[in-house]
Subunit: 309 residues, 2 copies
Amino acid sequence: MIDLKDAATFLRLCETANLTRTAALCNVSPSTLSRTLNKLEGILHTKLCLREKKGVFITEAGHKFESFARKALNEYAELEASLNNTVQSISGIVKIYCSVTASYLFIPRLLNELHLIAPNLEIKLETGDPAEALDKLEGEDIDFVISALPNEIPDNIKYVDLVTFPLILISPKKPLFSCETDLNSFDLSEVPFVMPEKGQLRNEVDKFFHSLESPPHIYSEVAGHEAIVSLTALGFGISVVPRLVYDISPFKNDVYVVKELPWSNFRVALCCLKNRAKLRSVKIIHDLALRVAPSFTPDLTRRRTDLSS
Amino acid sequence: MIDLKDAATFLRLCETANLTRTAALCNVSPSTLSRTLNKLEGILHTKLCLREKKGVFITEAGHKFESFARKALNEYAELEASLNNTVQSISGIVKIYCSVTASYLFIPRLLNELHLIAPNLEIKLETGDPAEALDKLEGEDIDFVISALPNEIPDNIKYVDLVTFPLILISPKKPLFSCETDLNSFDLSEVPFVMPEKGQLRNEVDKFFHSLESPPHIYSEVAGHEAIVSLTALGFGISVVPRLVYDISPFKNDVYVVKELPWSNFRVALCCLKNRAKLRSVKIIHDLALRVAPSFTPDLTRRRTDLSS
DNA sequence: TCTTTCATTGCAAAATTTGCAATATAAAAT
DNA sequence: ATTTTATATTGCAAATTTTGCAATGAAAGA
């Protein structure tokens, strides 16, 4: 019989239309996902999707299953809600560290839901440079961080994907100089650059310049993604930031988006240490994120599709 | 996450309110069922039922889960139907052997559903003495039998419970003799008895007389349950038959039901050989039965409850 | 008090699931 | 045309989970 988890997995597959990426999103290997699909199809005696190199095409039967899955999972969510699954007993403090942008985007939803579930659980929130996030997790007494995943994910952390989005190259609108021409036509190293101090964003930027084979002319190094947009808007130089940070910045209108960086996607995830994942309070939040995460991802899907076209 | 199979299991538990019996119906051990419940409760962070010696009491949360399960399983059934899960490709012949009574009760529903699923699968139906059923399964080229399960279930057969019901002692209304007085007050061995030739019914009858410590006065031995009622109605003697056979007999009005035999329940199941259970056509029917079986059992529940009061 | 009935747990065997690495194959890039 | 990239699937061994038996415990009934 169908496991609702598999149903949820299939829903994600329908959104991304890509087996490998879905697998990553669900924290399983592609082979496992492949076998999950086989299992589902075996149970239902029907092909649910055609899996080709070009993409995953949901069949008619697949769409029927999709709508079943959606219904069933909604009802399951209702059930959970109606069970009023409050864990009064759980109290204490959970500390979360994240960037300001993340605090705008994810924290409200997360804490809202959390309060319904565990009203006595207190949350301490600290915002700061996301570059420090993963280190904080190991060093200090932080339970969760919201962070971009590094390419090599340390195997002592457990994570839940929240969103993935591209990095963009932005330049000031101020008349410091004009960047409206094609950026590939001149040397980026001649233009002052606002560089993130460290962290995953720094890695990606380094990678970008490495691929251009022209080192950047670093004007200033900045800690904190939001500040990068601010400095750029003030005309200090061009820079690279996650699109989300740009979208939300109050200086959005003072900068141009020059282009998206290809192959540089930011996977933002809620992370905790595997050790502590067994703690009741940590587990509750992790599970909650697992449930809520898909509602953050539609953006991702649209973006992916846009990119591929 | 919830597996729909566990949800179905829970529904059955709600009906029978008895863990051990539910386990038997679901073909799992009580320990497994116990653990299944723990798992469910762990996932939902709620107690679903209080399991006491006196019986299983569904909690409020349990009832919520029950209605969720019912909804979800209905939708699943709809999905299967809408997938129009016809297996055109499957053709061939499947042979089923059962009693006439079984053919009245189960076969129509079963074949109806089967035809929707596998229209090209041909069914050969043979009715006869259920005593022979299990032997036929091993000997001849019969794929399925509907049979009462023996106390020691051979481990080369796979089965799906259909119904369970009590055996009853019946006597003719004809003026051969009157049995309206308490049967325990006179010696059963003085009364002519219509004895089933062999099979599980015979075993149960033997057990009954053994417990009375008075051997029966066997008037005749008969093959086939239905014929026993007929002979009894004609005044040949008293007899023991499954209640279901009595309920359905055209001679129902010509016999009295003296009493139910305690502890003698007939578990009727659809059986096949484990070897052949892997065959596509056999598997399809087995799965179908698994799905349809619960709709036969409410009778059982009522009966059980009646008995226990 | 003794027996019966029922649900739960330790434990070891059995079954299933998992991810890695290898394979295969189509599209894209050169 | 050939190489490279991206993607899905399978063999296989390890890890995890599930299972049933037998033992335990605990309440109800005789």
